[in-house]
């Protein structure tokens, strides 16, 4: 029996606010456990609103921050044991990220191709300029671009859609077995959204890459996911097969979330009026609250 691809064991992340006096603890992620099995690649979706801790979770899985308690195993290796630069690099070869804002993913003062070449140089056998070019081109081809469209270009010379594709291509260069995508479609236009989500399907089916897809959008989650977990205030409230959970949510919060999703079918004006009991409740809820710390 092989170890699962990713295994999270009662993961908790506390943030302390305040300084010497009166520290306040804030549980960004609270006792989260799940695993992604190794048998076949899948799209594993983490759903949550702002403040749910989904981004903190993603950053822990990417080994960018350390959990306060709990353990993360990737292919059986405890992430806490990664200390040397070499171990870090081996981990990055397996797990790569895609971030939220395509316009921010690349340094505006640098050429975009730089990141493709760097990745190829650091994580593959390619060394000569021709080999690097070939590696970059191969990855770009997988996302429907070619090196000719990207070479020598600065970020502002490419559209948001192109940049997001280049970001995905870069993540593919090391040949990772898992990609963590944090809100990859929340900042892109609707016409582009589907092309990125479709790309996830292709990555899973053709390139056998597992994807952790972090989003607040239930509709794309349903469209693309195999399994999902729903998070609220750092805790997992519901998890399971995506179709099953989203079609028939069990937890109260999941139901509330689903009921709040707008249908794209126009039902005539006024459908929203007095529609949800939740809305009445929300409006009576305590109005004073400190600024939500970002997840």
């Amino acid at each position: 029996m092989t170890a699962p691809l990713l295994h999270l064991d009662s993961l908790t992340k506390l943030y302390k606010r305040g300084g010497l006096f009166g520290r306040e603890e804030f549980r960004a992620v609270d006792n989260v456990s799940f695993h992604i099995h190794d048998k076949e690649p899948q799209v594993f979706t983490i759903i949550g609103e702002s403040g749910s801790g989904k981004t903190t979770l993603a950053r822990m899985v990417l080994n960018m921050i350390r959990p306060t308690t709990g353990t993360i195993f990737f292919k059986g290796q405890d992430l806490a044991s990664i200390r040397s630069g070499g171990a870090r690099r081996r981990f990055m070869k397996e797990v790569q990220p895609i971030f939220q804002n395509p316009f921010e993913a690349f340094n505006p003062l640098k050429r975009v191709d730089r990141y493709l070449y760097m990745t190829a140089k650091n994580f593959t056998d390619a060394h000569s300029p021709a080999q690097l070019d070939a590696a970059a081109d191969a990855a770009l081809n997988k996302v429907g671009l070619s090196i000719g469209e990207v070479r020598g270009r600065f970020p502002h010379e490419l559209s948001g859609g192109q940049l997001q594709r280049v970001a995905i291509a870069r993540a593919l260069i090391p040949g990772p077995s898992m990609i963590v995508a944090d809100e990859p479609v929340s900042m892109v236009d609707a016409s582009l959204r589907m092309s990125i989500v479709n790309l996830f399907r292709t990555l899973r089916d053709d390139l056998k890459v597992s994807i952790i897809y972090i989003t607040h959008d239930l509709a794309t989650a349903y469209y693309v996911s195999d399994r999902i977990i729903i998070m609220r205030k750092g805790e997992v409230v519901e998890s399971g097969l995506a179709r099953v959970v989203l079609e028939n949510p069990q937890h109260e919060y999941s139901r509330l979330l689903k009921s709040a999703v707008l249908s794209p079918d126009p039902r005539g004006q006024g459908v929203l009026i007095g529609d949800s009991a939740a809305s009445q409740q929300a409006r009576a809820s305590p109005h004073r609250q400190t600024i939500n710390s970002q997840s």
Binding site: D189, L192, N198, K258, P264, Q269, L272, A282, N292
Partner: protein, 355 residues
């Protein structure tokens, strides 16, 4: 206070009319001249008591369009040509003296803006903002005004304590509700809502949208509602205009547009909307919107259009009524669509805005 006689425009049932509105950004920086045609010949109207949606993706010109009809033009943006008329003013919005224009604001024309985080003055209590915005229009004494504000909040089922709060003490959703209360306090004829729910969580978003729709119908205001999110349009708007690259490409009753999109761009946008319970594979549109500083000739959609024909490369299709209350600008949609005869012709009269 300048009292403006209502209803002096062409059509009584139209609260807002724009005619061939053109708003360009003209920039000169480090020796480079640029002209960005962000809104390029938009003619539309909003009827009394309706919510008119404007949809489009980033940099399609919808924000600029809103600025133009709100008279929020600042250099480098200029109104190059066209008219903006409201039922509650005489003549063109840009022909009015600045003082009169200022007097109609909030009394007749109010706004709900995007980004609830920063729209309220962070160092001013909410009731002060109500006073700043509305007091002079209400013709009430201090105490009566406070009473009216409290009554209004009650009607919108908002707790009165929020008046004493600072904006940072309220959650994002509550701030946006405050903005709605603020915008409807004077019961204006027209409300401009610019991406009012974009920054909100889904649960809050639905409630805020319901509140907008409720207050709008309760007070009988007309509204223009701008968002890139077509799902929101499906639930909130009565009529819908789709913008692409600075032009209106399709307009009709929201239900009709969704049921029978005539422009290939609209069709693609609607087809790409995912739904819970439906995993059928959806295609995405290739390419990206053009750079408006160097827009393609002819129909601006033709480089991405699956139906592009020879004429699309040279001629700009006019927005043509093809079904009841349904206008489309696409040669492929129907042979009735004729080229718009506006490219370059007609004197583009520059209406410079005094600040």
């Amino acid at each position: 206070m300048a009292q403006i006689p209502a209803s002096s425009v062409q059509n009584n049932s139209h609260v807002l009319e724009t005619h061939d509105l053109r708003a360009y950004y003209r920039m000169r920086y480090f020796g480079i001249d640029r002209e960005v045609r962000a809104v390029d010949g938009v003619s539309m109207h909003v009827r009394k008591n309706e919510v008119y949606g404007v949809a489009g993706e980033s940099s399609c010109g919808k924000t600029t369009f809103i600025k133009a009809i709100a008279a929020a033009i600042r250099p480098p943006l200029e109104i190059v040509a066209g008219h903006v008329n409201y039922s509650f003013i005489k003549g063109d919005l840009y022909a009015m003296p600045a003082a009169e224009r200022s007097a109609i604001r909030w009394r007749h024309l109010s706004y709900i803006l995007q980004g609830s985080m920063n729209v309220l003055n962070p160092v001013r209590r909410i009731h002060k903002t109500f006073e700043d915005f509305a007091f002079r229009h209400m013709n009430l004494g201090r105490a009566e005004f406070d009473q009216a504000v409290k009554h209004h909040l009650e009607r919108l089922r908002l707790p009165a304590e929020i008046l004493r709060a600072y904006p940072h003490e309220l959650s994002g959703g509550m701030r946006q509700r405050v903005c709605i209360a603020l915008a409807t306090l004077c019961k204006p004829e027209f409300i401009i809502a610019d991406e009012p729910t974009t920054a909100l969580d889904v649960v809050v978003q639905k409630d805020v949208l319901a509140m907008i729709r409720e207050t709008q119908s309760e007070f009988g205001s007309s509204m223009i509602f701008v968002t890139h999110d077509l799902t929101v349009h499906a639930n909130v708007t009565d009529r819908l205009g789709i913008m692409y690259a600075g032009r209106l490409v399709e307009e009709g009753r929201t239900a009709d547009v969704f049921a029978n999109p005539m422009h290939p761009y609209t069709a693609h946008l609607i087809a790409s909307l995912p739904k819970i319970g439906d995993t059928q594979s959806r295609n995405a549109l290739s390419g990206s919107p053009p750079n408006l500083a160097d827009a393609p000739k002819g129909c601006r959609f033709h480089p991405r259009c699956p139906l592009a024909m020879e004429i699309c490369r040279h001629e700009n299709p006019a927005l043509t009524t093809l079904a009841e209350d349904h206008r489309v600008a696409c040669f492929a949609a129907s042979t009735k669509v004729q080229p718009a005869n506006d490219e370059g012709s007609g004197e583009a009269k520059t209406l410079e805005m005094a600040r």
